[in-house]
Amino acid sequence: MALLEVKDLHVSFNTDDGVVRAVRGISFEVERGKTLGIVGESGSGKSVSTQTLAGLTRGATVSGSAIFDGVDLITATPSQRRAVLGNKIGMIFQDPLTSLHPSYRVGWQIIEMIRGHDTKITKKQARQRAIDLLGMVGIPFPSQRVDDFPHQFSGGMRQRVMIAMAMALDPALLIADEPTTALDVTVQAQVLELMRKVQDEFGTAIILITHDLGVIADVADEVAVMYAGTIVERAQRNELFAAPHHPYTEGLLDSMPSRVKRGEPLRPVKGVPPSLINLPPGCVFQPRCPYAFDRCDKEVPLLGPVSRSELHLSACFLAPSTEEREALRQRRLGAEAAR
């Protein structure tokens, strides 16, 4: 059985402007020791879906299930959830500059985490553990820096501290919500390297959220592509990059400058993502889809296996064949030109 099994997770928010349906029926599994990459544009529901697992989306309406280690995180009582959080699930967030409490020393923050779950450990031991952890994540002179305040660290180092904290109790799952987006490439490489190292060492499963396909290509085992609150495609990394099925995945890959030759224009996905309050009918991607046909705005495609592989799921009515797709695209372009 998978370490984490999420089934049909829905999350919505009541706002003044209407109900924001941030996550709409997503399902995925995370295997022990593996990395699931979730990729998608801003606002596609990546953070909401993972934070819901940790009970961090307050005021949201949630349904579905998320079985972690035999506990359904969605229906768990706060104390049940707390026993898991931090202890078995570690989390790191996007902005290392604001994710640590500015008024407490980093050591204190790590020790709090340790002692919060391990009541037997002495203060001294916890402190030693914090120093060890800081050393492990590559903070130089950890025994001195353990008493520094977060603002005395650089962004990359703070993210390392966050990782150290998340890993403090050797969790089975690490949820990393865009851990490197705020960092420079060289530092990003450092952090990704560190996560890889940690995973190798502890066999931790990782959910890595990012909107950078490059990062995904680097570290993920399996990839889920999110669009407007749903997972539109799920596949093993190589499969996804080599043979994307969903037009959105395809568009994302094509948008990347590295995918085209210099001098040639890029092939962007046209248009912008829909509002989560007023979703288009049928397939949510249909208004932007170059292949859209009649069925697309009438029926909602479900995530299902693509014929080529059982492990490759996609929510699209299209057949996988490229010729057919191209024909559809031309037809649609012709129709638009005629209009």
Binding site: N14, D16, G59, G271, P274, S275, P287
Partner: protein, 315 residues
Amino acid sequence: MSASTAPPEEAVQLKASTGVVARGPWQLAWRRLRKDKVALISGAILLLIILVAIFAPLLNDMIGQSPNFQDPNGTDANGLPIGPSGAHWFGTDALGRDVLGRMISGSQVSLGIGLLSTALAVVIGVVLGLLAGYLGGIVDTVIARILDVVLAMPFVLTAVALVAIFGQSLTIIVLVLAFFSWATMARIIRGQVLSLREREFVEAARSLGASTYRIMFVELLPNLVMPILIYFSLLVPVNIVSEATLAYLGLGLPVPAADWGGMISDASDQGLFYQAWWTAFFPGAILVLTTLVFNLLGDGIRDALDPRIERLLQK
């Protein structure tokens, strides 16, 4: 000129497809405000009070009560005021004058001074705050020190002293109230400008060659409307109360001008209100009501213009 690969309709699609109508920041705010029942009711009451103030003489004629007329039958044999009755709905004061009539006429003083002094304070505060925040350097330092001085002077004490020395006239009271309230405005504006001037649109304007004054008044000022409006709505009641406080301490407008604070002050003399509660109750109530609706409306405006707290609540 038409060599774009991005056809216009693609852009149009955005809002049309999401069904969100285009609307400016003000329309947005107004829309939110309209949903806020408390703010709307407060606004209506405030409007009523303002109308009363504007048409005070007319209203007094209508109810047949002059604010200054000392009714010989308005006091009993011992010279004590008469309670609420058909002749005097809210009773009379120590001189036999109609409390309601004086309250109506007092609304002119209270609102007038409150609004006038606040407007003056806001103008001074905005201009100096803009100058200090945008120009920085020595201008900023000088203005900052003036601010420090003003803020270091205890308000009530100094205000009382100033009015006592320079005389109890409308001008002096308005000036004194404005003198003590511009500083906070300037501070807020300065802070806002400090962060605004780092925003890229200011840089953009500069890169277009816009002059300093254009940047201050065309680029920055519209962005300050929100804090100005919020602060204005919060400051008016403060100044109304300050004026009432001055009047309570015997430094309001000269007699026989009616003035809410002054009415309460009169009622407190020799513990009159123990014997005649209405002399203090009604002016006190209208004072509280006015500040309350101002504050409620101010809260509403703030939530409408800057729904941050509301958004925070949703997290």
